[in-house]
């Protein structure tokens, strides 16, 4: 199990907004190196001229009529908010 030099776990964890412990960084780096080694196999496939598939069947944009339909009540929409006040979600201060 060797860690590829270009797997910068700190950079990736930062992009993913995920705080990792030093132990997790070591463990995940090694495990992901294993998985990436397996994935390297894909480089053997000749994909010249092959179109990528994002969905198994073509997906088209769907337009809805611009008509208001009933949605969740404010109470229901905020049912699972970790902290709320006056029909709003409370978050840490974001402006100085």
């Amino acid at each position: 199990m060797s860690v590829p030099k270009d797997l910068n776990i700190d950079r990736i964890a930062n992009l993913a907004r995920l705080a990792l412990t030093p132990e997790e960084k070591i463990k995940f780096s090694a495990q992901l190196a294993d998985v990436l080694t397996n994935i390297e196999k894909l480089k053997q496939v000749d994909v010249t001229g092959v179109e990528p598939t994002a969905h198994a069947f073509p997906v088209y944009n769907v337009w809805a009529d611009d008509v208001a339909t009933p949605g969740l009540s404010v109470e229901d929409a905020l049912l699972n908010a970790p902290e709320k006040r006056d029909h709003m979600i409370v978050v840490p201060k974001v402006v100085e």
Binding site: A16, D34, L36, H55
Partner: protein, 492 residues
């Protein structure tokens, strides 16, 4: 094992059998619900299939079903039948946890489309079933709450990620269940627990109200005791939904009627790539015996090749993790879900809430998905994987020029021991026979086809053509209705 002479207990009967008893007023839905509750209370301590269940709510639904029936307004074969729901599918007023600490206290404010459709069909929505956290895993050991056991051998896993859905049904704790399948999460646990598991064509069943894992691969489907029951359940949940823009506008046939109308003989393809290295000899023998049964029915058995099979796991773990890293960015501790208590500022809140709320496998997949999408690696990994996905899909479509369906083992081995696959890559390789179906968007069904010498169930997978579930179910039923593997129940 139950003996053939004794009538099966109510909790071990099929939807079709129970629907007939309900219709004849031999039993009531409330009696059936009491039987399922008593069974659950007797075995659940050992099986641990549920995250939660609400007996008062279920009995109230059953009483409502009985009232409808008494008034001559019964709604069809699912009316009054208790159906368990994987804990990633929304049910109004019930917990929706994805077996994650992130959503441990989440209560759903609305119904998934499939939940609404089951309610309209009169089904009793029963319990929240355990899974690998956010449906990421193949053993249900990644649940943040507890590990579900295989009812046939309690020290073995039930498979995953829909392990609770498979185990609950096998143990008689529900009459049918719903799961979701991104890389095999319905078919693999169905095979390991001696039940039928159907993953419909991508787009046949609405994903509205399903917690997203990998949106181009996820599909909801039923676990049932028989193929006929799978046809009944699919009938209720299939169909276009304007709330899921990837759901397709296709005609929904009468699936149950198709079982009788479509008689074959069929052309069935056997892909050599699915019978090679790594396949357990007992699994191979059971599947080959099932194939020879089809031959006896007059089906034409043809060798086919799916040459890009070996790349499936690699393609899957790039595409699925890329999509999950994007889908799971919504869990940031702000609007819902776990929020860290001691954050310094809002960005710190994201980092800490996600670190505390997600378990190790979810973190690994977010990291891998973020990596393959990151600048400088996108072309080498993600774009290349999407191109190989095209080739994998083309393999299947080429095979369908010659055959009506493809038969493979569902899994390389029967259920493995709990804790046996601590290495993530070893766990990922469990899905080697089921992943291609998701990448190609095809319908696949696992049907019980035998037991190992250790008494563990074995399943075969039948893979059909897009949106031709009626044919796939008819082919599967030709075998299933002539065998009684599903009548074998675990000693619990």
């Amino acid at each position: 094992m139950s003996t053939a002479a004794m009538p099966a207990a109510l909790f071990n009967q099929s939807i079709a059998e129970l629907a007939a008893l309900l219709e004849a007023k031999t039993i009531t839905s409330v009696e059936l619900m009491h039987a399922v509750i008593a069974r659950t209370q007797a075995v659940e301590e050992r099986v641990k299939a549920f995250n939660s269940y609400d007996t008062d709510d279920a009995l109230a639904q059953a009483a409502a079903s009985d009232a409808r029936r008494a008034a001559g307004q019964a709604r069809g074969p699912l009316d009054g039948i208790p159906i368990g729901i994987k804990d990633v599918i929304a049910v109004t007023g019930q917990p929706l946890t994805a077996s994650s600490k992130m959503l441990a206290n989440f209560v759903s404010p609305y119904d998934a489309t499939v939940t609404q459709k089951l309610k309209k069909a009169g089904a009793v929505i029963w319990g929240r079933l355990n899974l690998d956290e956010f449906a990421m895993g193949s053993s249900t050991e990644n649940s943040a709450f507890h590990t579900t056991r295989n009812p046939y051998k309690l020290d073995c896993v039930p498979g995953g990620s829909s392990g609770g859905s498979a185990a609950a049904l096998a143990a008689g704790e529900a009459i049918a269940t719903l799961g979701s399948d991104t890389g095999g999460s319905i078919r693999q646990p169905a095979a390991l627990c001696n039940v039928v598991g159907l993953k419909p064509t991508y787009g046949l069943v609405s994903r509205y109200g399903l917690i997203a894992f990998a949106s181009s691969l996820d599909q909801i489907g039923p676990f049932t005791r028989t193929v006929e029951d799978a046809a009944i359940a699919l009938q209720a949940i299939a169909g276009h939904d304007e709330r899921d823009s990837t759901s397709f506008k296709v005609e929904i046939p009468d699936y149950r009627a198709a079982l009788k109308e479509k008689k074959g003989p069929w052309r069935l393809g056997i892909p050599k790539e699915y019978f090679g290295e790594g396949l357990d000899p007992e699994v191979a023998a059971a599947v080959e015996k099932a194939i020879s049964y089809y031959e006896k029915l007059g089906c034409e058995i043809k060798n086919v090749s799916l040459p890009h099979t070996e790349y499936g796991v690699g393609v899957y773990y790039i595409i699925a993790t890329a999509e999950c890293s994007s889908n799971l960015s919504r869990y940031d501790g702000i609007r819902y879900g776990h929020r860290a208590a001691d954050a310094n500022d809002i960005v710190d809140l994201y980092f800490k809430s996600r670190a505390e709320g997600f378990g190790p496998e979810v973190k690994r997949r977010i990291i891998l998905g973020t990596y393959v999408l990151s600048s400088g690696y996108y072309d080498a990994y993600y774009l290349r994987a999407q191109k190989v996905r095209t080739l994998i899909r083309q393999d299947f479509l080429n095979a369908y020029n010659e055959v009506d369906a493809i038969i493979t083992p569902t899994t390389p081995t029967p259920a493995f021991k709990r804790g046996a696959k601590a290495d993530p890559l070893a766990m990922y390789l469990c899905d080697v026979y089921t992943i291609g179906v998701n990448l190609a968007g095809l319908p696949g069904i696992s049907v019980p086809c035998g037991f190992s010498s250790d008494g563990l169930p074995i399943g075969m997978q039948l893979i059909g053509q897009p949106f031709k579930e009626a044919d796939l179910l008819a082919i599967a039923n030709a075998y299933d209705s002539a065998h009684d593997w599903s009548k074998r129940t675990p000693n619990l």
